[in-house]
Amino acid sequence: MNGNAVLDIRDLKVSFKVRRSGRKYQVRAVDGVSLSLAEGEVLGIVGESGCGKTTVGRSIVGLVRPDSGTIGFKGRDMTGAGLRDMRLNIRMVFQDPYASLNPRRAIGDSVAEAGDINGFFTSRAERSAAIAAALTAVGLDPSFAARYPYELSGGQRQRAGIARTILPSPSIVIADEPVSALDVSVQAQVLNLMMDLREQLGLSMLFISHDLGVIGQISNRVAVMYMGRIVEQAATRTVLDDPRHPYTRSLVAAIPKPDPSKRILGAIETGEPPSLFKRPSGCAYAPRCPLASQRCLVEVPELRSVGDRALACHNV
């Protein structure tokens, strides 16, 4: 797809076995996702809860095992591989910093964890200096190394969670809803921090969020996911200013705009959210789609390129 891609994912499929009311189901959480990330780029992934965003991220860092597909890092296939190189080069930031910060360990020890596991430090002095540098880089005083997660505010915890992912400095950061649990004023601080780090460390980023406002602020490109598939992908401004896929249009229209003269309540139709247990046979969006035609009920639309974007829809 892309010559200088640092990350190249092809046809990723992930399914889970789940039990519901005594029956066993196989749910397809990710159903054929391809995407690539260029050096220094931020790619946003957006979509409703349960559409498979986190599962894509977890597959890349090896936290879930894909059914099929390839994940290439700098030209090498690393699907399912626990390569040390890859572990240190691709790191994940989570929505809930509690999930990544061990409550019983001092912040400094959590920040140094990846380095400790991989024998990155040659002396205690070097380790302490690296922790101090990572904390300083995320705007925390080095004295935070001795503190515990419960002593930190939400924003400080998320900063510590980010410090954890930049020691040692990776090539790619997968950020899964990193600011969703934060208040707007703190959210702005953390977003600014992530933009600064991207620049200083030359990071590439996969930025997962359900919030198009946040995605619009930080990403160069956006992929919109629906029921495990990418339905539209383009430069951020293209997607936000001129969404084409009916689902993207409804997502953009539903953003609560902070402008009382642009009220939308009662004026837009967004339909019922889907159930992964009842995947429609044709286009997964058909039950909610105002443009659905006969063809949509039987044939799955493939992602194809249309002008400056990729779209999966029969009718636009």
Binding site: E48, S49, S153, G154, G155, D183, V184, S185, V186, Q187, A188, Q189, L191, N192, M195, H210, D211, L212, G213, V214, G216, Q217, S250, L251, A254, I255, P256, K257, P258, D259, P260, S261, R263, I264, L265, G266, I268, T270, G271, E272, P273, S275
Partner: protein, 324 residues
């Protein structure tokens, strides 16, 4: 309809109280939607629980102030008197419906239970009213959903059930504490639309609590902005967004990504809110205010009406918030 006057909610011993809500006042007229907006920990939930008489025990208590519902101070009533008082009906919905719904009871039974308490009917009439309530909240397939369990419903549908249960007592005032925060925007817009429609149709007043300025702009008639236990600005929604007068309100608006068209960096408000009870003198926002001046640190700011219906708690309010 509802008048909250100088409400103060405190923690800690009576000899050294820590006020988490410090002198909050607001009025709510019939059919009106008042948005209460502020960041986490500023006291929004404490305010709503105090108004409802649902403060957790032991712990926070109402130290001062009155909550008048049609002229009757409900803080002086016992819980059973609130139900008996018939006319004084308030209901509340919360952020996470799963924690307020019983996971092992069918939703029809749960709604009928609320109907039984308020209408004193049971059996088929209660179930018929439950179905009517499901129709009122625009639940698809109401007859069938009566026999569903909470886990079989989506987040948006569960929130509709909570609204149906709240409406069972035919409330005059609905208090909604972040009811759409856990929902996707596509579903949020439906639930907000439903709440507004219900307020219009039933002439119900609503206190809508959120941290999301976008939601406030879409839904509210009037807005109160809360910071560190105090209401720092109240205005009609157009005036608040068109011309914010408090520095905190303005800061909140500026740091929203969706208001920031294209700049690489977002404006921020430096620092964090003070812990409750730590500001002993002056303005609670002084430690973060870009416009702070010497008097702010010593003298409590006055509450001034800067234009009709637009109140601000600040010694040096913004006067050039200007349309943006």
């Amino acid at each position: 309809m509802l008048s909250v006057q100088d409400l103060t909610v405190s923690l800690g011993p009576a000899t050294a109280p820590v006020d988490v809500v410090a002198g909050v006042s607001f009025e709510l007229a019939k059919g009106e939607i008042l948005g209460l907006v502020g960041e986490s920990g500023c006291g929004k939930s404490m305010t709503s629980l105090a108004v409802m008489g649902l403060l957790p025990q032991p712990g926070p208590r109402i130290r001062a102030g009155r909550v008048l519902l049609e002229g009757c101070d409900v803080t002086q009533l016992q819980p059973w008197q609130r139900v008996e008082a018939g006319h004084g009906r308030m209901a509340m919905i919360f952020q996470e419906p799963m924690t307020s719904l019983n996971p092992v009871r069918r939703i029809g039974d749960q709604i009928a239970e609320a109907v039984r308490v308020h209408d004193r009917v049971s059996g088929p009439p209660a179930m018929a009213r439950a179905r009517e309530l499901l129709e009122l909240v625009r639940m698809p397939d109401p007859a069938m959903q009566l026999s569903a369990y909470p886990h079989q419903l989506s987040g948006g549908q569960r929130q509709r059930i909570m609204i149906a249960i709240a409406l069972a007592c035919r409330p005059q005032v609905l208090i909604a504490d972040e009811p759409t925060t856990a929902l996707d925007v596509t579903i949020q817009v439906q639930v907000l639309g439903l709440l507004r429609e219900l307020c219009n149709r039933l002439d119900m007043a609503m206190l809508f609590i959120t941290h999301d300025m976008g939601v406030i702009a879409q839904l509210a008639d009037r807005v109160s902005v809360m910071y560190a236990g105090r209401i720092v600005e109240t205005a009609g929604v157009e005036a608040l967004f068109g011309r914010p007068r408090h520095h905190y309100t303005r800061g909140l608006m500026d740091c929203m990504p969706s208001r920031n068209s294209g700049a690489r960096r977002l404006p921020t408000i430096a620092g964090q809110p003070p812990a409750p009870g730590t500001v002993r003198a002056g303005c609670v926002f002084a430690s973060r205010c870009a416009a702070v001046r010497e008097p702010c640190r010593t003298a409590a700011p006055p509450r001034a009406e800067v234009s009709r219906g637009h109140e601000v708690l600040c010694t040096f309010p913004l006067d050039d918030g200007g349309p943006r």
